[in-house]
């Protein structure tokens, strides 16, 4: 069932277009994360849904009802703010019950609901405290309790964890995930932290420059990014991009990669001209290294040791160094010469405008003898 629908929503602010034709469908009970770099419009989009900002064009529907002109309280949404925005002069109990009191909830059921909310969030023992007597995580929970108390169908979170320290952030992240499982309400969550996005979301919406770049499950986005932007945004260290040139267009593209010579890749480039500049994306974990002989291969410039893994930086004489994620036991050192072996199933090819070329499903079978062609064989083709 579709809970919330955005239909070509636009937002302008003093001539600047902050959101352009955003269309989106969110199912009931889904956990949706808006993610993107700062200034991409993700917070604005959340505020439009909340009703704190007005929509300039397009429709916002909740349960099939157009709510563009409704007050926030009439939309059935609750919001958790980045700075918590607790009422400093009220106790935890009053903070949570404020909205209920304004909605003229009957006294006994008000008390019941506050206590129930407090219990879910483990705030039972803190109800008489003032916000200044609470720790960061507790304040965060009170902020969630305040948003939840009126039992809204949709809960909105605006970067709720960005004020917490790293360990508390992980803990609160788990609590939010558990809360979602327990309440089953629709949640929309804004963050610029891709780990939060990947771990929490049923569905990630990547925004860039006021536009939706891609919508999909974390796995879809990570494994099949629709654009170079999404590919570069998700994943840490970020995806390596190599400038390449299209040698022969076709259902399987022959591409001149500079590092590996001419290579056949399973991407459909039928409508592109030969000689087009493309960009080849490889995630650091999809590169493996092999010791090179003599002066062949590329030079390791730096090794970052992270305990569970190492990041090996490689000088390819291209714009940026390549980064490869290796096991610690491989023991690479700066100055080593290595050969690069890409995992052909996990490469991405992007056109000059950033869109991903379509992966050809059967391309691998058409290349029976391995994935890479030597420069000599390629030139013979």
């Amino acid at each position: 069932m579709i809970k919330l629908k955005l239909d070509n929503v636009n937002k302008q602010l003093g001539g600047a277009r902050i959101l352009r034709d955003v269309s989106l469908e969110i199912a009931a009970g889904e956990f949706v994360v808006f993610v993107g770099p700062s200034g991409c419009g993700k917070s604005t989009l959340l505020r439009l849904i909340a009703g704190l900002d007005s929509i300039c064009g397009g429709d916002l529907l909740i349960d099939g009802r157009r709510v563009n002109d409704l007050e926030p309280r009439e939309r059935g949404v609750g919001m958790v703010f980045q700075s918590y925005a607790l009422y400093p002069h009220m106790s935890v109990y009053d903070n949570i019950s404020f909205g209920l009191k304004l909605a003229k909830t009957e006294k006994t059921s008000l008390r019941e609901r506050v206590l129930k909310t407090a219990q879910i969030l483990q705030l039972d023992k803190l109800l008489q405290r003032k916000p200044k007597e609470l720790s960061g995580g507790q304040r965060q929970r009170v902020a969630m309790g305040r948003a939840m108390a009126r039992e809204p169908d949709i809960l909105l979170f605006d970067e709720p964890l960005s004020n917490l320290d790293a360990s508390l952030r992980v803990q609160m992240r788990n609590e939010i995930a558990r809360l979602h499982d327990r309440l089953g309400s629709t949640m929309i969550y804004v963050t610029h932290d891709q780990v939060e996005a990947m771990t929490l979301a049923d569905k990630i919406v990547v925004l860039n420059g006021g536009r939706v770049e891609q919508v999909g499950s974390p796995r879809e986005l990570y494994e099949r990014p629709a654009s170079r932007f999404v590919a570069g945004f998700l994943g840490s260290p970020r995806m390596n991009f190599l400038p390449v040139r299209l040698q022969t267009p076709g259902e399987t593209s022959l591409v001149n990669t500079l590092v590996w010579g001419i290579t056949a890749l399973p991407f459909d480039s039928t409508n592109l001209a030969a000689g087009t500049h493309l960009s080849l994306g490889i995630r650091p974990e999809h590169l493996s290294l092999k010791a090179a002989e003599g002066t062949a291969g590329v030079v390791v410039t730096a090794v970052e040791y992270l305990g569970s893994e190492t990041y090996v930086h490689l000088d390819t004489r291209l714009e940026e160094p390549l980064i490869c994620r290796c096991e610690v036991s491989a023991g690479w050192k700066a100055g080593d010469r290595v050969e690069l072996l890409p995992d052909i199933d996990n490469l991405h090819l992007f056109a000059a405008d950033g869109t991903a070329l379509k992966r050809h499903p059967h391309a691998i079978e058409t290349l029976p003898d391995g994935v890479l062609l030597s420069p000599a064989r390629a030139s013979a083709l």
Binding site: L52, G78, A85, G99, P131
Partner: protein, 280 residues
């Protein structure tokens, strides 16, 4: 090392000297007024800096004058009304000016500031006409109206500044909770503005309490006069005698409540003037 210690000691000495001078400058007139008020009129012109044998006859004389007590009552009523009215109006104005973004907001604020630059004398005759036309002449309302006019620019500015410093998300949280602007103002923002309200209210009170020119112009009879005018009109036994003892006693009676008020709210004032920001 010694030199540094010496320098430090000298600096400290200079600092306290300066404070002494300031204190003398600020407190000595008031102190001398107290000394004078406690002397019988016969000892009035003997210069002495200490209170040798306090004589309360001046106080008894002043406080036994019904018109003086009446004036204190008038002053109190006028000042309290001005404070209430000015705080209410400026609080609501500050909510609009500090919280709502609208075209011409800066212009309005500049105009408010501009109005506060007019000297009292410049508007005196015009205001007099207004008060006559409204039929308020020789009533407390004339003073309440004119003082409020002169207090508002200041209170609006101060409260707007404080209001602007309150975090925006607090108000948005209230909106999400379903609060109307009035509820947001009174139940969320107002409790956080108490220090600012106390500060501005006290300053408005002092201004209204001490005002002389309007009080002299807009009131005529003893029953409507406020304290500053009443003191100015205290006269001695003959036209050639100024009853200094009485005057000083009256001044002290009028000033002491203010001093006490300021001392009580001192901490609030300081926190009100410095801290506007609050941490969630």
């Amino acid at each position: 090392m010694n030199l540094r210690l010496l320098k430090k000691a000298l600096l400290r000495l200079g600092f306290w000297c300066l404070i002494g001078v300031l204190l003398l400058y600020a407190v000595f007139p008031f102190y001398y007024a107290i000394v004078t008020s406690l002397k019988p009129s016969s000892a009035l012109f003997e210069v002495s800096y200490w209170i040798a044998n306090p004589d309360f006859s001046n106080y008894a004389a002043v406080l036994s004058q019904a018109s003086f007590l009446r004036a204190i009552g008038n002053s109190l009523v006028v000042a309290l009304c001005v404070v209430t009215l000015a705080l209410f109006l400026s609080l609501t104005a500050a909510y609009a000016l500090g919280r709502v973004k609208f075209r011409g907001r800066g212009t309005v604020l500049m105009m408010v500031l501009g109005v506060s630059m007019f000297p009292q004398v410049a508007v005196l005759s015009g205001l007099f006409e207004v008060i006559r036309a409204l039929g308020l002449y020789n009533t407390s309302w004339a003073l309440i109206l004119s003082y409020t006019i002169f207090t508002l620019p200041f209170t609006v500015w101060v409260l707007t500044t404080f209001m602007g410093q309150l975090p925006h998300e607090l108000e948005e949280a209230a909106i999400m909770d379903g609060a109307s602007p009035w509820v947001t103002l009174t139940r969320v923002l107002l409790p956080l503005l108490w220090p600012a309200l106390v500060t501005t209210g006290l300053l408005a009170f002092i201004a209204a309490w001490n005002e002389f020119l309007f009080a002299l112009t807009f009131t005529l009879t003893d029953t409507q006069r406020t304290v500053p005018v009443a003191i100015a009109l205290i006269s001695g036994g003959s036209p050639h005698e100024l009853p200094w003892g009485l005057l000083m006693a009256a001044s002290v009676v009028v000033t002491v409540p203010l001093v006490i008020l300021v001392l009580i709210f001192q901490r609030r004032i300081v926190s009100g003037l410095t801290a506007g920001a609050l941490k969630g």
